[in-house]
Amino acid sequence: MAIYLCRRLLHGVFVLVAVSVIVFTAVHLAPGDPALMMMPNFGGTLADREILANIRQRMGLDRPLHVQYLDFVSRLAAWDFGESLHAHIPVRKMLGERLGATVELTVLSMVFATVVAIPLGIASARRRNGAVDVFGRVLALLGVATPSFWIGLMLIMLLAVQLRILPTGGRGGWTSYILPTFTLGIQQVALITRLTRSSLVEILRKEYIKAARAKGLGDGRVIWKHALRNVLIPVITVVGLQFGTLLGGAVVTETVFSWPGIGRMVVEAILNRDYPVVQATVFVFSLLFVVLNILVDVCYLYLDPRVRLT
């Protein structure tokens, strides 16, 4: 187990080094200039060369690329991402403020999604073409097919503007979590319900399930004891991957609900070419992805004894 974990961790470190090179190169090779973005009326006059040179110097962009890369990596080792080029705020502080908001929203919506979707998927599979199954299938179809910004705006119009029972956005008291969690979670509900249902339907046809039934076990015991463990393997894989995707991909929901999350921050940073913020965010996300993948693999070990530590 320890050797397996060490090997996985080393693999993770290799991935992160590669990410640091790729993100640095991509950010610096992308067309656009952070200094130009600060000039009056997007770019200022072509005569303001001296001002542009001063801004580039202050941002440290006048140094050779390899020096900038080494500076970036040596800071990374100390968990220091430098300062935002525009805001003069340490990127670590910005990440801290934003990452918390995104993790909260992602965890809540994944919890909401699994709590709703797994029982719904099981119920649908047990009574195929029954009322619950039809409801689950319609819900899944709608959840996957409806864009989250539309769901978000409709919920705002109904619950916040017309009925005034929930806030339109922002991150404040517990009521402010309801709409963004639902909006972000509903698509996951759709996905996980479909997945749980189809896995369970397939597994219920297996020989060992027939054997369990032949032994005279009750329906509940067959499902909970024998089928569910196997159903959960693909579900956990998807939940783990979706968790990672949502961390970075919740930008639409964050924008609609003015949620101060990391997705919005990184989009703004990309538009303004705020290099340290983009680099740090991509790096931290990659780190989270690596950690989540290791956690998912560890979960397999417990769920499926056939997965060997190789």
Partner: protein
């Protein structure tokens, strides 16, 4: 008796009419003004940005030496009066009753500190774009008198001061100054979370009188529909930076919401690359202009949320002609004739560069309309929608043909946009007309406002004839005000909206 009853009834009637509004307008001493903004407040450093939103927020914390009032006149702020004894000398007499938020008195040394910091290459201030070069000599005559000596005359100087927050020399030199900024403004800093919020509390010792609101809370709400929903739900009191044109009619008057439409200092236009064929031919540039039904676009797409641009500057900017030119007529036949004369009887293909991230509202729809209208005279447009940083880099390199852009003159003076868009040989459109250059340079150097206006008048006529850019829209802000908010005066620059007189009712 009956007469007396009538009088009483009339008095009650009058009371009935007048009392409630008076009651309704009593400031809530603990009231919080909540503002919903599209744009992020980029920085807490008032010298390293050029963003209207940043100014708006910063001007609750800081004051400049002079204000620009909503009519465009310069009025005293931290300076009670000023003199201009010769074209290169300015003397400022400062207020004596001003304190910073930390209790330190404001003196001429603070103004010197501010200007020294602004000109310091380490600050790398983009604002130097509208300050005279080299740095003027700053002489502290006494604690409340300051003399500025310029090397050459610079007419927009006072307007440059209007955009410059005066910083405290003691606190301003501390390394944590930008984390805990201190100013002389009506509100003092509480919290800034980039991309989310900015909060400032009433400063009881404000020189302009105790502010009526206890707190101002700016929230960043990037999505336009969500911003309007927040105003409708009563969660915010003010949307200062534009409401989508299609939302205006829907929410006007609803739940006590009012919409104020205010002429802005912004214009939007097509920048043509005058250094590239065929745009180096005046006839082609004019043909593009004649081919566009700009009024149709304003009415049909912009839903009259903007005006028709008839001068190189907006109608709220210094330099706007007293008698503006009529808009160029929409005449596709004339456009075709001009194209034939220029040697393009079958038209040509052009790239239309536009920012993708909705910097200017309805950019995509306007692009499609322009594509169709130019297509009708034979100019085939390929729309290239690029995110702003990439698009800017292309324009800076001169690697573009037609690009839709805008210019907001934050100083409400044409000098800034003239420098960016028309002063050769460094104009963005690569236009270089010696006569225009001479007039624009003269307008910056001559002190007499009337002489400056005469220069800009002549520039406007030449630019209309030469068509280096195609003028489209004269900007307007549509500002949404909630029913609780009072005492707010929105300015054509949009800066300076929330000051000591602004308040909310209970």
């Amino acid at each position: 008796m009956r007469m007396r009853l009538l009088w009483v009834a009339a008095a009650i009637g009058l009371l009935g009419l007048t009392v409630p509004p008076v009651e309704a307008q009593t400031p809530d001493p603990a009231g919080v003004i909540r503002v919903g903004h599209a744009e992020t407040v980029r920085s807490m450093d008032p010298q390293t940005h050029t963003s209207i939103t940043d100014w708006e927020v910063h001007f609750s914390l800081w004051d400049p030496l002079v204000y620009l009032d909503e009519k465009g006149s310069l009025v005293p702020a931290l300076a009670v009066r000023w003199e201009n004894p010769d074209p290169t000398t300015y003397v400022f007499h400062l207020r004596r009753d001003v304190k910073f938020h930390d209790g330190q008195p404001f003196t001429a040394a603070d103004v010197k500190f501010t200007l020294d910091r602004l000109y310091d290459p380490k600050t790398a201030s983009p604002m130097l774009a509208w300050w005279p070069k080299p740095q003027p000599e700053i002489i502290i005559v006494d604690d409340y008198t300051l003399r500025l000596k310029l090397q050459t005359p610079y007419a927009p100087l006072l307007r440059s001061f209007w955009l410059t927050a005066i910083l405290p020399r003691q606190a301003g030199a501390r390394p944590d100054f930008l984390q805990k900024p201190i100013g002389t403004g009506p509100f003092k800093f509480v919290e800034y979370v980039k991309g989310d919020r900015f909060i400032a509390d009433r400063f009881d010792g404000y020189w302009g009188g105790r502010p009526k609101a206890a707190r101002v809370h700016w929230r960043i709400i990037p999505e336009a529909s969500a911003r309007v929903a927040a105003l409708e739900a009563g969660e915010i009191d003010l949307i200062p930076d534009g409401i989508p044109p299609e939302e205006i009619a829907r929410i006007k008057g609803k739940r006590g919401i009012s919409i104020q439409e205010i002429g802005s200092v912004e214009t939007r236009f097509l920048v043509l690359n005058n250094a590239k064929a065929p745009y180096n031919d005046k006839r082609v540039r004019q043909a593009i202009w004649y081919a566009l039904d700009i009024k149709g676009i304003i009415d049909g797409i912009m839903l009259k949320s903007v005006g028709h641009q008839v001068a190189p500057m907006s109608s709220n900017t210094f330099g706007y002609p007293g008698r503006p030119l009529p808009p160029r007529e929409y005449n596709p036949e004339k456009a075709k004739q001009l194209l034939r004369e220029a040697g393009y009887p079958n038209g040509f293909t052009a790239e239309y560069l536009v920012y993708s991230n909705n910097i200017y509202s309805k950019d995509d729809e306007v692009a499609q309309a322009i594509q169709a209208q130019l297509g009708a005279v034979g100019i085939k447009i390929n729309i290239s929608m690029l995110e702003i940083a990439t698009a800017l880099a292309k324009v800076a390199r001169g690697d573009f043909e037609i690009s839709k852009q805008g210019c907001a003159a934050a100083s409400a003076d044409f000098a800034l946009c003239a420098g960016i868009h028309y002063l050769g040989p460094r104009a963005r459109n690569r236009y270089d007309n010696p006569k225009v250059n001479e007039l624009l340079q003269h307008a910056v150097a001559v002190g007499d406002p009337n002489a400056r206006l005469k220069d800009y008048d002549e520039v406007a006529k030449i630019l209309f004839e030469d068509a280096p850019n195609v003028w489209l829209f004269d900007g307007r802000y549509s500002i949404g005000l909630g029913p609780r908010l009072h005492g707010v005066t929105i300015h054509p620059t949009r800066i300076n909206a929330i000051r000591e007189k602004a308040f909310v009712t209970q």
